[in-house]
């Protein structure tokens, strides 16, 4: 038996005057594609969705599945209608759907449970709201905005603000979405400061309030402490804020999970995700809350933890504020964006009493991007 050579040379085919494919250089490309970037983000968000099961049960999984499916189906239908102008972009739509689900609140502070909020206590409302936000956001703010050349506002954020803030809650004449607290006063204990009234944030009072309001709904209200006591609520507060939450968006269910998944994603796709925004946001928030601590007094650690981890702004900082399409291009612009986002969030939350103001702050900052794009354009090599 003769061994056949691995690659046979066809003697009839001469190389003379062969026509070849002409392509522009570079003739090799990097591994990263838009699709891969979206896949990585999707997996990261899926991890957070899976963790949210621990706090919100099966509902969070259902909401996630619904929004993703609605977004993907809308994307498919639009690609059929629009043809060339709106090509099929399943991964991007799936990520969008998951972001919508992640920015929907399932858990509310117990103090607010009586307000008219479309949480699970109202039957199937959250499912329909999430599906509506997903569909409108994808069609109007993702595809149509994309047609205009570029996206100006984060589609998930603006749709949620409009649908839950304006259309379905006309009673509240502000941009506060229906699933956010307009004001959660911590036992009405305000202190007067130079810039108005504010929570005192003294260790025991603040900690106790926080745990009663924000802790696990299943705990006994008379003695809600698992790790600490009424005199020293710090372990419970930190557990609640950092490890497992029962309030806020699905995406913010566990600060530590969001941070670790976010850092993994940023490292995996390094250079392709605008990490400067997140870093600037976190640093500014810490500095700002320390500053407020000096003005109003109270416990600095509590205050920093409260502003960093209460609610779901940590999720926004990692996964929504870094949306590449609606954020500035230059490095310096990104830092200013993160800084402005942090300051605006704090101002809205502290002085407007609108907890969850981060989503409004994000939309406002998005609108500044065309200006921030001109900030920090570097002098090229040899022109300094």
């Amino acid at each position: 038996m003769e061994a056949t050579p691995k690659k046979t040379y066809v003697s009839g085919a001469s190389m003379t005057n062969r026509k070849l494919v002409v392509e522009p250089s570079p003739h090799v490309t990097g591994r990263m594609t838009k699709d891969l970037l979206m896949k990585c983000t999707f997996v990261a968000l899926c991890i957070i969705a899976a963790v949210s099961y621990l706090s919100y049960g099966f509902n969070s999984i259902v909401i996630s599945a619904i929004s993703v499916l609605v977004a993907v189906i809308c994307d498919y239908l639009l690609s059929l209608i629009m043809g060339e102008k709106g090509p099929l972009n399943t991964m991007s739509a799936a990520v969008f759907g998951l972001v919508v689900a992640m920015s929907y609140s399932l858990g509310m502070p117990t103090a607010m449970a009586t307000e008219t909020i479309p949480t699970m206590s109202n039957g199937y409302e959250p499912y329909t709201y999430a599906a509506l936000i997903s569909a409108v956001g994808l069609i109007v703010f993702k595809k149509l905005q994309g047609l205009a050349g570029r996206k100006y506002v984060n589609p998930a954020a603006i749709t949620k603000l409009l649908i839950l803030g304006l259309l379905f809650m006309p009673a509240i004449s502000s941009l506060v979405p229906a699933d956010h607290g307009l004001s959660v006063d911590l036992q009405n204990r305000f202190t007067e400061g130079p810039f108005g009234s504010y929570y005192p944030m003294e260790t025991t009072i603040f900690g106790t309030t926080l745990i009663t309001c924000y802790g696990s709904p299943s705990l006994d209200p008379a003695n809600p402490y698992t790790f600490g006591t009424a005199e020293n609520p710090l372990p419970d507060v930190l557990y609640n804020l950092i490890v497992q939450k029962y309030h806020g968006w699905i995406g913010g269910v566990s600060s530590i999970v969001v941070i670790s998944v976010g850092i993994c994603l940023f490292t995996l796709c390094r250079g392709y995700i605008k990490w400067r925004i997140t870093l600037a946001y976190l640093v500014t928030t810490v500095l700002f809350s320390i500053g407020m601590g000096y003005i109003y007094g109270g416990d600095i650690i509590f205050r920093v933890a409260f502003h960093l981890f209460t609610g779901s702004s940590i999720f926004m900082a990692f996964f929504m504020a870094t949306d590449p399409a609606t954020t500035p291009l230059p490095d310096l612009g990104q830092i200013i964006f993160g800084l402005g986002l942090a300051i605006l969030t704090m101002l809205i939350q502290v002085y407007m009493g609108f907890l969850g103001g981060s989503i409004l702050a994000l939309v406002i900052m998005n609108l500044t991007v065309p200006f921030l794009d001109r900030v920090g354009i570097r002098k090229p090599f040899g022109r300094r």
Binding site: N17, P24, H27, T29, G271
Partner: protein, 431 residues
């Protein structure tokens, strides 16, 4: 700088760097493009029917920025017509010479011995380099004799030997460093004499282990010489960026290196200078790498003017499976439309792409504004902003963003996740 950290472009040289330089047989018909350098066009000095011998000058120009071309073989001029010129991505004038197999050498060529070097004049050496038709062999193609005669009021402090060879498939320069080290030393000595004894800095990547060892061995006796072996990035093969890494300064835009007291020469150019001065050989052959999807990569000493088809046929590249051939490196090189394209002085590599191994390049999609191209650009340009301005035909805005500074390294297109041809658009408008 963050681009240093993020942009390790994977090199694909493992096989090729171990293959010694082999001499490729002379072509049956050599196709010599008359314009291979950057500068004024040459005029043929021969006509159809003339007999030429090896090393005979066959085209030259009176203009200042020019370099002659020579016949690589002995034979008869059969045609003067057009051939595809990969240096200019267009068809241009070429001299077709049919090989007579007699290997007659041009008798007018003369050389000097090493001991004569200190006695000859600088003007003689510069003239020798010009007459040998030597141009920048790294790919830029600027006539070398002009770089050797900087204005007298600009003393040259450093001679940089650029041996980074950053194109990801190319190993021709690396093999030269290993096999022709003593020749390179001779070339450096010539340049030193011409440039008034500057300090010599040899820059090479530290992953060329064998080459660095050879350099250290051969250059150990040479005074005022530094061998810098560092993990240079892909873009630092550029003369300006290399200086930034070596000396820390940025050559002001629009200025040439000599204004900073630096002359940068590719290692292959230096080898060619040594061959011209001490062997009397004009630039009629060069070392080029055959690599890419071929199973056995080669480093070949090929006569300039050899058609690519002959090289591919010789190594039994399957013509039916051939998709694309790139001359001069995959990052900055040219994709040729026909296999009848001849080799030029600037062809540092022949990269072959097969249909069977090719992953189709994805179509361009909308920019997601990830700003990766901005952080990747070694010149701190803003490729995507320039592209947006150019596509709106807002040339003024593009000029304000200094798009003319781009030297086309292609890194922005390489990193773009949306596969936007940034480098193509920016360079396409500029030229």
């Amino acid at each position: 700088m963050n681009h240093k950290l993020a942009l390790k472009i994977e090199e694909r040289k493992e096989k090729a760097r171990k293959v010694p330089i082999a001499v490729f047989p002379d072509p049956e018909t050599a196709v010599i493009l008359t314009l291979q350098h950057v500068g004024a066009s040459n005029v043929p000095l021969v006509s159809v029917g003339n007999n030429v011998s090896i090393g005979q000058k066959i085209a030259d120009s009176e203009e200042k920025i020019s370099a002659p071309v020579h016949s690589p073989i002995s034979g008869k001029v059969v045609k003067i017509g057009d051939a595809y010129n990969p240096c200019y991505k267009a068809f241009s004038e070429a001299i077709f010479i049919k090989n007579d197999g007699k290997n007659r050498k041009d008798k007018t060529l003369r050389s000097i011995s090493e001991s004569e070097l200190k006695d000859v004049s600088t003007a003689f050496l510069i003239d020798k380099v010009r007459e040998a038709g030597i141009i920048g062999l790294g790919g830029a193609g600027f006539p070398t004799h002009l770089k050797l005669s900087p204005p007298s009021d600009k003393p040259i402090k450093y001679l940089v030997v650029n041996a980074c060879e950053s194109e990801i498939y190319d190993t021709a320069d690396e093999r030269l460093l290993i096999e022709k080290t003593s020749n390179i030393l001779k070339g450096v000595k010539v340049m030193r004499k011409v440039l008034g004894s500057p300090e010599v800095v040899i820059a090479t990547k530290n992953n060329k282990i064998e080459a660095v060892e050879r350099l250290k061995e051969v250059f150990s006796e040479e005074p005022k010489t530094r061998i810098v072996a560092k993990p240079f990035t892909y873009q630092q093969g550029d003369a300006g960026l290399l200086q930034k890494e070596l000396f820390g300064w940025e050559v002001p835009a629009g200025n040439r290196s000599y204004e900073m007291g630096v002359i940068v020469h590719n290692v292959a150019t230096i080898n060619a200078v040594a061959e011209a001065v001490f062997d009397g050989d004009p630039l009629i052959s060069r070392v080029t790498t055959l690599n890419g999807d071929v199973e056995e990569p080669k480093n070949l000493l090929v006569k300039i003017g050899t058609p690519v088809s002959q090289i591919l046929d010789h190594f039994k590249v399957d013509a039916n499976d051939l998709r694309k051939v790139v001359l001069g490196g995959v990052m900055m090189g040219t994709s040729i439309p026909t296999t009848e394209t001849p080799l030029t002085k600037r062809t540092s590599s022949i990269i072959v792409f097969y249909k069977s191994k090719h992953n189709p390049v994805k179509r361009r999609t909308d920019c997601i504004r990830c700003s990766k191209c901005i952080s990747a650009c070694p010149l701190r340009l803003h490729p995507i902003s320039i592209l947006e301005a150019l596509e709106k035909e807002d040339i003024e805005k593009a000029k304000r963003l200094y798009f003319t500074d781009c030297f086309g390294c292609g890194i922005c297109s390489y990193v773009c996740p949306s596969r936007i041809p940034l480098a193509l658009t920016i360079c396409g408008v500029r030229y």
